[in-house]
Amino acid sequence: MTGCETEEKAVSGQIFEGGTPGGRTAEEKARDAKLLADSFFTEEERKKLDTLVDIIMPADSESPAATELKVTDFMDFMMLDQPGYQTPMRGGLMWLDFEADEKFGKPFNELSKNQVIEIVELVAWPDKADPAYEGGVRWFNLLRNLTCTGYFTTEAGWKYMGYKGNTPNVWDGIPQQVLDKHGLSNPEKYTAFYLKPEDRGKVVEWDDDGNIIG
């Protein structure tokens, strides 16, 4: 792997150079480096995927499109990391050309936006799809899964989701307005025993019966 390729793979704020950081074994480091230096999809396949992931997770007023978050790169890595994905994914991408040729007489990558949507519509709705497209539906489910998870595991995805955690804090229970909204309350029986944030600095002391006395 060269520095140049690392640059290409990097999403802003992402540490990709040697794979996952933190307590890695030598085998893990070597495997991540190898997978990151390698790629699975052809240029043609990448182009198909770029088109599709932006249809599945498009830009809107609050969040960017999937291609801006390098979802295709993520998917490429997952093909190598979990090789069980390779055949179903590649099979689906090949089917796109068959279907595009049947319908419009040209390869998928040359279709107009409307023509692409026409094909996506055949396989995007599992409960309504024509049984003849069962295989295509299964593939699109996989594509949707990987696209969405690739999208929501980015900084922009977290922001859109509104996730507030992954930061040191003090848990003092569900906010009162949320309890009120749902008509719930903490069990009264334990009110006196729950952690009080102001006690977090004090070394605990017990009496002989296990009651906290300091």
Binding site: G23, D32, Y160, G162, N169
Partner: protein, 580 residues
């Protein structure tokens, strides 16, 4: 590793094999008694407080697989535990078409890097099950013998919880518990109306400091990644490293023990191990050998410790070495809570586990299965990671628009993106963890045909569930449905039936396996005595869960810790008296 010990063996008072809960506790107690100790660990060392070892607080985009599991970290790329069900070069086999999955962690702290920190004492009944229901055997010791050690473990390591006064769920020295999460209150509503108790959970995380050496919990929900503040329990941070700091303790890492060596009188003289670094064989000598390699690994070492004085391995003449292997039962169910769709956002991470749980609440005399189970609960607005946003091909229909019309499953586009945001934090579920019946016919043994990459003969498993466990799982499924439905949740998936043994997890999957070197007073039906001392080798002790006669519905770690402390005290006493 500067010596080829075959020529100049180093001698210690005690060699401890394994650095998990049992080995870690022994390393602390024995070194504090002034003994020289070698801890021999099959994996590497690590310290979560060092940034190069830290996975805590890393967002998924720092992992190219966004935190997805790997062969070596099946519970996720940021999980602290290294090893898994299937370790390269370290196979195990099965026989008679049965299944047993063996989870191992090759690292300092062992599987305490993995577990959920659920820290429950066994109760008085848990030691005397045979007297109650006629199945299996009683332990040769009771709760009263272990209580002082449980008390010490509570104070040394820290566990939060509440005093409940439930006879078979003994109270301890608890730190204050955290308040419940929202999904836990919804579940409690369901449990209340089903007459099922829910109490604050008992987890070994420091909500308040117990000393000035370890920090307090800062509520990131990532105990499984190992805590840089040492605010949760793992044997590495709380036992082994402090022991190395204070006492005469040498840590041998990447050292795979082949066997316990013995002399002509049958006494243990030390261990022989393979260094994974240079693939050479080394020997260490000691006055006492303590095995804490995990129930199955310690049994394997004893089986492989064949010599002139122990032709069937140490403990092999008992006829029960490797027998009575049993794991906890497990089954799960999941639902979606319409009231939690579109929920307000706030930091709900909390501790690295549930804030409330259900201890076993029924009388088995009135049921068609002999042993109980506890229920663990999950849900909430956890960190979006690998898996988030998936399953919209079947889940999207649970989201309704302002007119009450459900979204169609699957789809694409801005609407799909919004629906993923709307459904976030609305799924929840529960897992039962129950007691199984220990049986002679469930066992591990040496596979005569297979060795690992160090040339050490491997284990072969034979394990089946009986009607007892299957009926218990059926009861779990009925209970789960009742709680979820009463709570207002929509059940997801179909109810597991007899074809899947009611969703009963395969043996080994709950990672609570015990019983392979069980304790007892009779050398013909047990491997170690009530002090966890081998009947046929009085300077060999087992401090993992191998000596458990029965595995209660409680997680075994707290009992491993208490037993190991008690065994270590006994070792110190016997050395002082020159009995060993």
């Amino acid at each position: 590793m500067s010596f080829q010990i075959k020529e100049t063996p180093d001698t210690y008072d005690v060699i401890i094999v394994g650095s998990g809960a049992g080995g870690g506790m022994a390393s602390k107690v024995l070194s504090e008694a002034g003994l020289s100790v070698a801890v021999v660990e099959a994996g590497g060392d690590f310290d979560p407080a060092k940034d190069e070892d830290r996975t805590q607080l890393r967002p998924p985009w720092e992992s190219p697989r966004r935190g997805a599991g790997t062969r070596i970290r099946p519970f996720g790329d940021f999980d602290a535990a290294i090893g898994g069900w299937d370790i390269e070069g370290e196979p195990y086999t099965r026989k008679n078409g049965t299944q047993f999955d063996w989870f191992r962690s090759r690292m300092v702290g062992g599987r305490t890097n993995h577990w959920g920190r659920i820290s429950l004492r066994f109760g008085p009944n848990d030691f005397k099950r045979a007297s109650i229901d006629g199945m299996g055997d009683d332990w040769p010791i009771g709760y009263d013998e272990l209580k002082p050690y449980y008390d010490r473990v509570d104070k040394l390591i820290g566990v939060f919880g509440t005093k409940e006064g439930i006879y078979n769920e003994p109270d301890g020295f608890f730190l204050p518990p955290p308040k419940p999460r929202l999904h836990e209150l919804f579940i409690k509503k369901g449990a209340d109306s089903a007459g099922i108790p829910m109490i604050p959970s008992r987890l070994s995380m420091l909500t308040r400091p117990i000393n000035n050496e370890r920090g307090v919990c800062f509520f990131c929900n990532q105990c499984n990644r190992a805590c840089q503040a040492y605010a949760d329990f793992s044997a590495g941070t709380c036992l082994v490293h402090p022991a190395i700091k204070k006492g005469k303790v040498d840590l041998y890492t990447f050292s795979m023990v082949r066997k316990v060596t013995t002399d002509d009188q049958g006494k243990a003289t030390g261990v022989s191990f393979v260094s994974k670094v240079d693939m050479k064989e080394y020997k260490l000598r000691s006055r006492v050998v303590v095995l804490g390699a995990s129930a199955c690994e310690s049994a394997r070492i004893m089986m492989n410790s064949k010599s002139k004085s122990h032709p069937n391995g140490i403990g092999g003449d008992s006829g029960v070495l490797g027998r009575y292997l049993h794991d906890s039962t497990g089954a799960d169910r999941m639902g979606i809570m319409p009231d939690l769709i579109d929920r307000e956002r706030y930091n709900e991470d909390g501790v690295g586990g549930m804030h409330m749980y259900t201890p076993w609440w029924l009388d088995n005399k009135k049921l068609d299965f002999a042993r109980g189970y506890h229920i663990e609960y999950w849900g909430g607005m956890g960190q979006p990671a690998y898996g988030t946003g998936m399953s919209m091909d079947s889940m999207r229909k649970y989201i309704k628009d302002e007119f009450g019309n459900p979204s169609p499953n699957g789809g694409y586009g801005e609407g799909l993106k919004k629906d993923i945001r709307r459904i976030y934090g609305s799924t929840l579920g529960m897992s039962g963890r129950g007691e199984s019946i220990p049986r002679y016919d469930n066992y591990c043994e040496i596979d005569p045909n297979v060795v690992d990459k160090y040339g050490i003969p491997v284990l072969r498993f034979n394990y089946t569930w009986s009607d007892q466990e299957i009926k218990q799982a059926k009861h779990m499924q009925d209970t789960f449905e009742e709680i979820l439905t009463n709570a207002g949740a929509i059940l997801l998936g179909s109810k597991p039936g007899p074809e899947s043994k009611y969703g009963l997890a395969a043996p080994g999957r709950i990672i609570h396996e015990v019983g392979t070197t069980r304790m007892g007073n009779d050398a013909k039906s047990s491997v170690v005595n009530s002090n966890c001392q081998a009947h046929d080798c009085d300077n060999l002790f087992v401090v993992d869960a191998g000596p458990f006669v029965s595995q209660a519905d409680k997680n075994p770690t707290w009992t491993i810790l208490a037993l190991s402390w008690r065994t270590s005290d006994y070792i110190v006493d016997q050395l002082k008296q020159k009995n060993i």
